[in-house]
């Protein structure tokens, strides 16, 4: 942790609190972003180990490495962890670290609410994972269909851990959505018009809108399940008039926008990285923005394609098949724009650029299998087979995770002040490309050969081909795992002894490269004046290489230089709210009403203090000018 001490947050602040307290109470978006990234990386490791156990079990027919009961828990926790606790918070980590810098802001709109989001995610994730030690993990798949999630079929506490853990993390995500919509609308530096915003900021904005409207139905759904399991309600109990399809509808009304929440930030990162390393402005900026908005809108119109085999009939299925196919149009626009950005550019293949270019073919493969799945009659064949598993891993690893990694190599120097090692990075990239394709491409064949997903084993009678491709996939999974050992080693090594990055190691285009690495606590000494798209590039090529200040000058000094910069101060209450709700969550799972009461009392006391307390803020004196 000593190396972490050098990171952003401690710079520019007096160390009046203990080290631990300064992190527990922080409201600085950069420190919150770092904690998101660290926690999500930990959960990513946990989800990865679960994936390897699944692959070991499936390496040969009739294997008994894990029991069927444990296998159910493994695939459920693998999916749930990767989606809710790894990939989404990794993006939220980058959004926290980078978006306020890209728009020239001092911080997010609600710094303390941001801390609440973080702690709800961290403690919700811990609660969910503690199920392994407290009576068994959830075992009904990441989409947790009723009725197998109901008490008669699932009497253990696992499903309750899923329910309450995701409820906590989900409320945190919802608050992040609110926060970044307000931040991007209201905290932009002067001159940063909407159509001058970097594309990562644009995709963050649309992602936040998706979060805002997708998570509430999920919250409701989780409450309904909690009422059924813990309070004897009958939403999903057919014997008392309940309807199991209600869960599926509410889940996928959330769940489909959720997968776009997992891909849109990646689109933004890829746009930033490809433009920077092609030394060209992004091709078709306007169409990129429109495509992002179109994808965000269509995301809410396709949910029944997850339910084609439920028997809604040809009219309903056709409607949702057509809306699903329509999403390929704006996505295709983006793919071509990236290719045209590289066309004729001075391309430099850094590791970040390798991941960004690798993203394109992998995501196209995932997109094509997605269009195949969207055709309702054909989907009756693919449904619940390994073909779907292949598809979703091509879009979530080949798409989302490649985006995360491009972002990691691109922004690590901005976040930590040090460069990641390029040689280790290239080992990581090539091993991952090989490992990923060897693991997941054969799953297309396995699906077409009839192998169902979510079954603990398969019979040797399914044929040699099934056994062979499963073994190949397992070997690929280990290559993939080894590639991440290179990455983790690179992270630790570079954090300790990586080359100093300087403010602008990539000759970047957006505003985050115009300030120090890591950015000081106030981000920019003077609020910058934005004079064009690619704001920093404009100053480097058409200005004097210094940011213009948007602040009125008085006697040759800006107001901020005379009086200092006003910044929000931290608070322990966001952490205490999250802690209280988590304690109440454990109480609800184990039926301990006293614990529920204690937890809620702590949470409400802290909410009360958040309502009535006024953040006095603190004044920080900057050093140097806007460009430093």
């Amino acid at each position: 942790m000593a190396a972490v001490a050098e990171l952003v947050g401690t710079k520019g602040r007096q160390r009046s609190q203990s080290y631990l307290m300064s992190w527990l109470t922080t409201a600085d978006h950069k420190r919150i972003g770092i904690m998101y990234l660290l926690a999500a990386t930990f959960f990513f490791g946990v989800g990865g180990i679960e994936a390897l156990m699944i692959r070991i079990q499936l390496s040969s027919p009739g294997n008994t490495f894990v029991t069927p009961a444990l296998y159910d828990q493994l695939f459920t926790m693998h999916g749930t962890t990767m989606i809710f606790l790894a990939v989404m918070p990794l993006f939220i980590g980058f959004i926290n670290c980078i978006v306020p810098l890209q728009i020239g802001a001092r911080d997010v709109a609600f710094p303390r609410l941001n801390a609440l989001s973080l702690w709800l995610f961290v403690l919700g994730g811990i609660l969910l994972n503690s199920s392994w030690f407290l009576g068994g993990a959830p075992n009904a798949g990441w989409f947790n269909y009723a009725p197998i999630s109901l008490t008669p079929f699932n009497p253990g506490p696992g499903i309750d851990f899923y329910d309450i853990g995701l409820q906590l993390a989900g409320i945190g995500t919802l608050m992040t959505g609110v926060n970044f919509i307000a931040t991007i609308i209201n905290n932009r530096a002067p001159g940063m018009s909407l159509m001058r915003m970097p594309l990562f900021t644009w995709t963050t904005f649309v992602t936040s809108v998706l979060i805002l409207f997708a998570f509430p139905p999920f919250t409701v759904n989780l409450f309904l399940l909690m009422f059924d399991r813990l309070m004897g309600a009958n939403f999903f109990n057919i014997l008392k008039g309940g309807n199991v399809l209600l869960w599926q509808h509410l889940f996928w009304i959330f769940g489909h926008p959720e997968v776009y929440i997992l891909i849109l930030p990646a689109f933004g990162i890829i746009s930033e990285v490809i433009a920077t390393f092609s030394r060209k402005t992004i091709f078709g900026y306007d169409s990129m923005v429109l495509a992002t908005i179109a994808i965000g809108f269509l995301a809410f119109t396709v949910w029944v394609h997850h339910m084609f085999v439920d028997g809604f009939g040809p009219y309903v299925n056709s409607l949702f098949a057509i809306t699903t196919l329509a999403i390929a149009v704006p996505t295709g626009v983006k793919i071509f724009n990236w290719i045209f950005t590289m066309w004729g550019g001075k391309i430099k293949f850094t590791t970040a650029m390798l991941f960004a270019t690798g993203f394109i073919p992998l995501f196209v493969i995932g997109g094509i299998s997605g269009v195949m799945l969207a055709m309702a009659p054909a989907d009756f064949q693919y449904n619940d087979s390994y073909f779907v598993v292949a598809h979703l891993h091509y879009v979530l690893i080949g798409g989302s995770l490649m985006g995360v990694l491009a972002g990691a190599y691109y922004w690590f120097p901005k976040i930590t002040g040090r460069l990641l090692n390029e040689t280790l990075g290239k080992w990581h990239f090539w091993l991952m490309m090989i490992g990923f394709n060897v693991t997941f491409f054969p799953m297309h064949f396995l699906g077409l050969l009839g192998m169902p997903r979510r079954v603990a084993t398969y019979s040797a009678a399914m044929g040699q081909a099934v056994a062979f491709w499963n073994l190949v996939a397992t070997i690929g999974a280990f290559i993939l795992a080894i590639s991440f050992l290179f990455f983790f080693y690179n992270l630790i090594k570079s954090l300790k002894s990586g080359e100093r990055a300087g403010p602008d190691p990539w000759d970047g285009r957006a505003l985050e490269w115009a300030t120090e690495s890591p950015a000081p606590v106030y981000n920019f000494a003077k609020t910058p004046l934005v004079r064009g798209r690619d704001a920093w590039w404009v100053e480097k090529t058409e200005g004097d290489g210094q940011l213009r200040s948007a602040e009125p000058e008085q006697d040759g000094e800006s107001a901020h230089h005379a009086h200092g910069i006003h910044l929000p101060t931290g608070s322990i209450f966001p952490f205490l709210i999250a802690l209280g709700l988590t304690i109440a969550g454990y109480g609800a799972i184990f039926g301990l009403l006293l614990l529920v009461a204690i937890g809620l009392a702590l949470a409400f006391f802290s909410i009360h203090r958040m309502i009535v307390d006024e953040d006095p803020g603190e004044i920080v004196q900057p050093v140097g000018g806007a460009g430093e």
Binding site: T10, K11, G12, R13, Q14, R15, A109, F110, L113, L174, G177, V178, N179, I181, A182, T183, I185, N186, N187, L212, F213, F215, P216, P217, T219, V220, N221, F223, L224, F227, M231, G232, A233, N234, F235, N237, L239, K240, G241, G242, N243, L246, L250, P520, H563, G564, H566, F604, H608, I611, V612, E614, D615, P616, G617, E618, I619, V620, Q621, V623
Partner: protein
């Protein structure tokens, strides 16, 4: 670099940053309320899809007492009006009048909640419990969550009344009252929908 920036305590009075923070709060709250719309939309959709699934148990239609819910509706709608009065008094700088109207708002909200608790106890005693049927579960989820919103609003308004006006009316607590008011009106509008969809439509059937 650590320690090279000197910290001094913030100056009293309104800075541009504080003004912006208040702007953000109002905007952020509107955004949050649109998420709340999606929350209640999901609950109302659930209720409408399970409305008739009574599974042979006691039905809501046989229990509803429209005059009682009429009084509840009246008290909640009036509380929106008194919230407006509180806000008008605040704009004129009349601290006492504002506080009185906020207390009246809280009182009307408490009357609503009290009648709702009475209503729920009566229904449960008649066998219309959470576990009686899917229809009953959906009723308690929708109407109960609305009731919890009213209760949270009470907690909020009373918190502000007790703790936030020690220095009179300031720019900081003005925006807090404005936001609490937005919330209160939103909860009121949701009740108008619930009253129509749950109570009035039962009588139409």
């Amino acid at each position: 670099m650590i320690g090279s920036h000197e910290l001094v305590p913030a100056q009293p009075g309104q800075t541009p940053e504080q003004a912006k923070a208040q702007d953000n709060r109002v905007l952020g709250f509107w955004i949050f309320l649109s998420g709340e719309c999606a929350f209640f939309a999901a609950l109302i959709g659930t209720y409408l899809s399970l409305d008739t699934h009574t599974a042979g148990a006691v039905t809501l239609a046989s229990l509803i007492d429209l005059p009682l819910t009429g009084v509840m509706t009246l008290s909640l709608l009036s509380s929106s009006l008194t919230m407006v009065f509180a806000f008008l008094a605040m704009n004129k700088g009349e601290l006492q009048a504002m506080k009185i109207w906020l207390w009246v708002t809280a009182l009307l909200g408490a009357i609503f909640l009290d009648l709702q608790i009475f209503e729920f106890t009566h229904y449960m005693a008649s066998g219309f419990t959470m576990g009686a049927s899917a229809s009953a579960s959906a009723f308690y989820a929708l109407v109960g969550f609305h009731g919890l919103h009213v209760a949270f609003g009470l907690f909020w308004i009373i918190s502000l009344l007790v703790y936030s006006f020690k220095d009179g009316i300031t720019p900081a607590n003005t925006s807090k009252v404005w936001i609490a008011g937005l919330y209160w009106h939103f909860v009121d509008v949701v009740w108008v929908i619930i009253f129509t969809v749950v109570y009035l439509m039962q009588k139409v059937h």
